[in-house]
C-alpha cells in the first residue's frame, strides 16, 4: 500500500503539476459561479474548492480525480441560505461530511450498482440543464452589451484552441476571461462584475466554528439539507470515480472515497467553505491535461488559492458575462448530446428512465430525487421484463382423467396474477398435478399465488398434487452468499 501511495503521489510529477494548474484556472470561474447559485459570496465557493481539493488529494480513494465546490451540491443549498444564512450552510456542510463518513463505513458505495447507464445519462443531462438555467438571471433584464460580451466569450472559448501553437498552450476559458475583462475595462462598459456579486477572498482561510446554536433545533434545520448534500455528493463522486477508472484503466477505492468526501466537506465547512464533491467535467479535464496522480488534485487546490488571494483585485473586475460564457460551455459540455439521438434507437424503457430522471431533477432541483426516480422506474421495467419469462404448459391424460400443469420460469409479485391466469378453474377433472420443478418462486407473493390456485382447484373437486416444490422454492431464501458460488447458482437456476 505504501508503495502504491508513493506511486499515486510521485508517479507523474510533471504531468500532474501542469494538469493541476490547468484545472485550477478552470476551477476559479466555476467556484465563483456555484457560489452565486447557492446565494453566497464568491469566497465561500473558492475557499471550499481549495479545502476540498487539497484534502481529497490526501484522503480520497481515486487518484487524479478533482473535487471542489460543485453545481450539484450548490443547488441543494439555495433555500437554506435564503432562510437561515451562511452559518447554517457551514453547519450543514459539516453534518453532510459526517454523514458521508458514516456512509463510507456502512459500505453504501455498493448501492451504486443500482444506477444504470440511463440514470447516469439523465443525471448529467439534468445537471447541464440546471447549470444553464442558473445563468439565466445574468442574461435577463440586461443591456445588449452583456449578450455581445457573452457571445464573444463563447467564440473565444470554442475557437481559440484552433489557433496554431498557442491554442494548445493556454486554456481557452482563461483567454476568454482575460480578453472580455480587458475589453470591458478599456472601453469602460458598465456591466456587472464578479466584484458586484459579493466578497472575494483577501486572506488565507482561517479556522472558524460555524456560528450556530448547538441544539436540536439547529440540527432539525440543517439535517434535511445535509442528507441531500451527502447523497448527491457521493453519487456524483462515485460516478466520477467510475469515469476516471474507465479512462485511466486503473482502480479506485470507493469506500475510501466516501470517507474522504466526508472529511473534505467537514474541513471545508470549518474554514468557511460550502459543501462540494467530485466534478465530472474537471476530472476529465485533468486526465486530458495529463493529470494522473494525487499531486494533480493538490496542485489544483493550492494554485487556486494562491491565484484568488493574490489576484482578488483583478478578479473583482471580471465581467459576469465572461463567467456566464464559461458556465454555458460547462453546460454544453456536460450534456450528453448523443443521448438525444439515442432516444430513438434505445429501448423505450431506457429512454423513459433517462427522461424521467431529467424531469424530476429539473423540477425539484435535487439530483438525488431524480436518481431515485430513475432507479425506481428502471426496477419496475426490469420486473416487468422478468414476468415475461414465465409460462404454464398443460396436458390432459384421458386414461386417468388427470390434468398436468407444468410451470416454467419466474414467479414473483409481478408475475403472480399472470401465473394464476394460466389455470382453468372451470374444467372438471379427477386429478390435477402441478409440476413446478422448472419454476422459481422468488417471493411470498408467488407462493401465495400457488396456494390460491391449489385451494381454488380443490374447491372444484379435484385432487391436487404439487411436484418439485423444494427445487422451486429454494430461491425464496435470502441466501445472498449464493452469488459467490457458481455451483450453487447452477443448482438453483440449472436447466433454464
Amino acid at each position: 500500500m505504501l508503495l502504491s501511495a508513493k506511486h499515486d503521489w510521485l508517479g507523474n510529477i510533471r504531468g500532474d503539476i501542469l494538469a493541476g494548474i490547468v484545472v485550477a484556472l478552470a476551477l476559479v470561474p466555476e467556484a465563483i459561479a456555484f457560489s452565486i447559485i447557492a446565494g453566497v459570496d464568491p469566497k465561500v465557493g473558492l475557499y471550499a474548492s481549495f479545502a476540498i481539493a487539497v484534502m481529497i488529494a490526501v484522503v480520497g480513494g481515486r487518484a487524479g480525480m478533482i473535487s471542489a465546490a460543485t453545481a450539484a451540491t450548490a443547488l441543494l443549498m439555495v433555500t437554506l441560505v435564503k432562510d437561515h444564512g451562511l452559518q447554517y450552510l457551514l453547519a450543514a456542510t459539516v453534518v453532510a461530511g459526517i454523514l458521508q463518513i458514516v456512509a463510507g463505513y456502512l459500505n453504501l458505495h455498493k448501492f451504486m450498482s443500482f444506477i444504470s447507464k440511463s440514470v447516469m445519462t439523465g443525471f448529467l443531462n439534468a445537471l447541464a440543464i440546471l447549470i444553464f438555467m442558473a445563468q439565466l438571471p445574468e442574461l435577463t433584464n440586461v443591456t445588449w452589451h452583456v449578450y455581445a460580451l457573452t457571445a464573444m466569450g463563447l467564440g473565444i472559448i470554442y475557437l481559440f484552441p484552433y489557433v496554431p501553437k498557442i491554442g494548445q498552450l493556454l486554456p481557452s476559458p482563461l483567454v476568454n476571461i482575460i480578453v472580455v475583462t480587458l475589453v470591458v475595462y478599456y472601453m469602460g462598459i458598465d456591466v456587472r462584475t464578479i466584484g458586484d456579486m459579493g466578497e472575494l477572498p483577501d486572506t488565507l482561510p482561517i479556522f472558524l466554528w460555524p456560528d450556530v446554536p448547538l441544539n436540536l433545533e439547529t440540527l432539525s434545520i440543517v439535517l434535511p439539507y445535509s442528507i441531500s448534500i451527502a447523497i448527491v455528493g457521493l453519487l456524483e463522486s462515485l460516478m466520477t470515480a467510475n469515469v476516471i477508472d474507465e479512462l485511466t484503466d486503473t482502480e479506485s477505492d470507493k469506500k475510501r472515497e466516501c470517507k474522504g468526501q466526508g472529511i473534505a466537506n467537514i474541513g471545508s465547512g470549518l474554514i468557511g467553505g460550502m459543501a462540494g464533491c467530485a466534478m465530472i467535467g474537471q476530472s476529465i479535464i485533468n486526465v486530458k491535461s495529463g493529470g494522473r496522480g494525487r499531486l494533480s488534485t493538490l496542485v489544483a487546490g493550492t494554485f487556486l488559492l494562491i491565484l484568488v488571494v493574490f489576484l482578488n483585485d483583478i478578479l473583482s473586475i471580471v465581467p459576469m458575462a465572461a463567467l456566464v460564457a464559461v458556465m454555458i460551455m460547462v453546460s454544453i459540455g456536460t450534456f450528453n448530446w448523443n443521448s438525444l439521438k439515442e432516444l430513438k434507437t434505445n429501448p423505450t424503457s431506457a429512454s423513459a428512465v433517462m427522461v424521467a430522471t431529467v424531469i424530476v431533477v429539473v423540477w425539484t432541483h435535487n439530483l438525488a430525487f431524480g436518481v431515485f426516480t430513475g432507479i425506481l422506474i428502471g426496477s419496475l421495467f426490469m420486473a416487468q421484463r422478468l414476468s415475461q419469462f414465465m409460462y404454464v404448459e398443460s396436458a390432459y391424460d384421458d386414461g386417468t382423467d388427470t390434468r398436468t400443469y407444468q410451470v416454467v420460469g419466474q414467479v414473483f409479485f409481478n408475475s403472480s396474477d399472470k401465473f394464476i391466469g394460466f389455470f382453468d378453474f372451470k374444467e372438471a377433472v379427477d386429478k390435477i398435478v402441478i409440476d413446478v420443478h422448472r419454476a422459481h418462486f422468488w417471493d411470498i407473493t408467488g407462493v401465495a399465488a400457488l396456494d390460491k390456485v391449489v385451494i381454488k382447484l380443490r374447491r372444484e373437486g379435484a385432487d391436487v398434487s404439487i411436484i418439485g416444490l423444494n427445487e422451486a422454492s429454494e430461491t425464496l431464501l435470502d441466501k445472498f452468499a449464493v452469488h459467490d458460488k457458481p455451483e450453487e447458482i447452477e443448482k438453483i437456476m440449472g436447466g433454464h
Partner: protein
C-alpha cells in the same frame, strides 16, 4: 491450476541482471527437478504523452478521450508485449540448451507484486534480480518493486545480485530464532532446491555468545534430522557487520534468511533488517517467509 506441479518462477525484464537470473533459475530447476516458468510482466505507465491543456469541457469529451487513451495504451502494450516475447524466447533457448525440458513462458499485465500474488498457487520458488530495468546502471541500491514483490507472496524468493553467474557453492544461513527464521530452518532441512548440494554455514549473531550458541545448537538439532552437513558459527556484535565479515572471510556466495518478519509500518519506522542486509551484503539471497 492447483493440480499442476508447482514451478520455479523466474522474473525477467530484459535488464542487465536478466541473463544471470535465467542462469540461476536453470541451475535451481536442475537441482530441484521442478519445471521452470519464465515470467515477463507488462507494466503500463498509465501516463499520456499527448496532454491537451485547452481546459474546455466539450461535448462527448469523455468518449473522445477514452478512444484516444485506449489507442495510445494499445500501441504501448503491443510494443511491450513484442519486447517481452524476445526476452522470453531468449530465456527459453538458454533453458533448452542447458537441457531442461519442462519450460513455460508467460506474459501478464500488471506490476510484479500483483502478478506474483495472482500466480502464488503455482509458485514453488521465485527467482528475481535485485533491481529491474528502470535501475540499470545504478550500481548500488535495490529495485523499487523488490520489497513489494517479496511481501506479495509466501514462497521462498531467490534474489540475484551477482552480475555474472557462478554455480552456488556456499550458503550462509543467518539464524536468530525468529518465527520466519524457523520457517527458513525447516526449508533448509527439507533440502529441496539448492540446499542439498551446498556447503551450509549456520551463523547466529546475538548480544551474548551463550544465546548465539544456544540458537546454533537448536539449528544443528533440526538440520541433523535432514542429514544436512553444516558448519556453524556463533558470533557477537552488530548483526549486519558480523554477517558481512563472515561472508567475506568464507567466500560465501548465497545468504539465506527469514525475511520481513515485521509489518510494513515497523519497517518504515525502524528500517527493515532484511532491506539493510540486502543492501549491505553482496551475495545472492535466498529469502524465506
Amino acid at each position: 491450476m492447483t493440480t499442476s506441479t508447482k514451478c520455479l518462477l523466474a522474473c525477467i525484464d530484459g535488464s542487465d541482471l536478466s541473463n544471470v537470473v535465467i542462469e540461476h533459475a536453470i541451475w535451481l530447476a536442475k537441482n530441484s527437478q521442478s519445471p521452470v516458468k519464465f515470467l515477463h510482466t507488462i507494466e503500463h505507465s498509465h501516463r499520456t504523452e499527448n496532454a491537451h491543456h485547452e481546459g474546455t469541457i466539450t461535448p462527448n469529451m469523455k468518449e473522445h478521450l477514452l478512444d484516444e487513451l485506449s489507442d495510445e495504451e494499445r500501441s504501448e502494450s503491443k510494443q511491450l508485449i513484442a519486447e517481452g516475447k524476445v526476452i522470453l524466447n531468449n530465456a527459453q533457448k538458454m533453458a533448452e540448451q542447458a537441457g531442461l525440458t519442462d519450460i513455460i513462458a508467460k506474459q501478464r499485465h500488471g506490476t510484479l507484486p500483483e502478478t506474483l500474488a495472482d500466480l502464488e498457487d503455482e509458485i514453488a520458488m521465485v527467482v528475481l534480480g535485485s533491481k529491474g530495468e528502470d535501475h540499470d546502471g545504478n550500481r548500488k541500491g535495490l529495485g523499487s518493486q523488490l520489497e513489494g514483490a517479496i511481501r506479495a507472496i509466501h514462497s521462498p524468493v531467490f534474489i540475484v545480485k551477482s552480475t555474472a553467474f557462478s554455480e552456488p557453492k556456499k550458503l550462509m544461513f543467518a539464524y536468530n530464532g525468529s518465527p520466519t527464521s524457523k520457517i527458513a530452518l525447516e526449508f533448509i532441512k527439507r533440502g529441496t532446491f539448492c540446499t542439498q548440494s551446498l556447503e551450509v554455514h549456520v551463523v547466529s549473531v546475538q548480544k551474548n555468545l551463550a544465546d548465539a550458541e544456544q540458537l546454533i545448537e537448536e539449528a544443528k538439532a533440526v538440520l541433523a534430522e535432514g542429514n544436512i552437513n553444516i558448519t556453524t558459527k556463533a558470533l557477537t556484535g552488530d548483526t549486519i557487520d558480523e554477517l558481512t565479515a563472515y561472508q567475506q572471510q568464507n567466500n560465501i556466495d548465497t545468504t539465506a534468511m527469514g525475511a520481513f518478519s515485521h509489518g510494513k509500518v515497523h519497517g518504515l519506522i525502524f528500517g527493515s533488517f532484511t532491506t539493510r542486509m540486502l543492501l549491505e551484503c553482496s551475495t545472492n539471497f535466498l529469502l524465506i517467509r
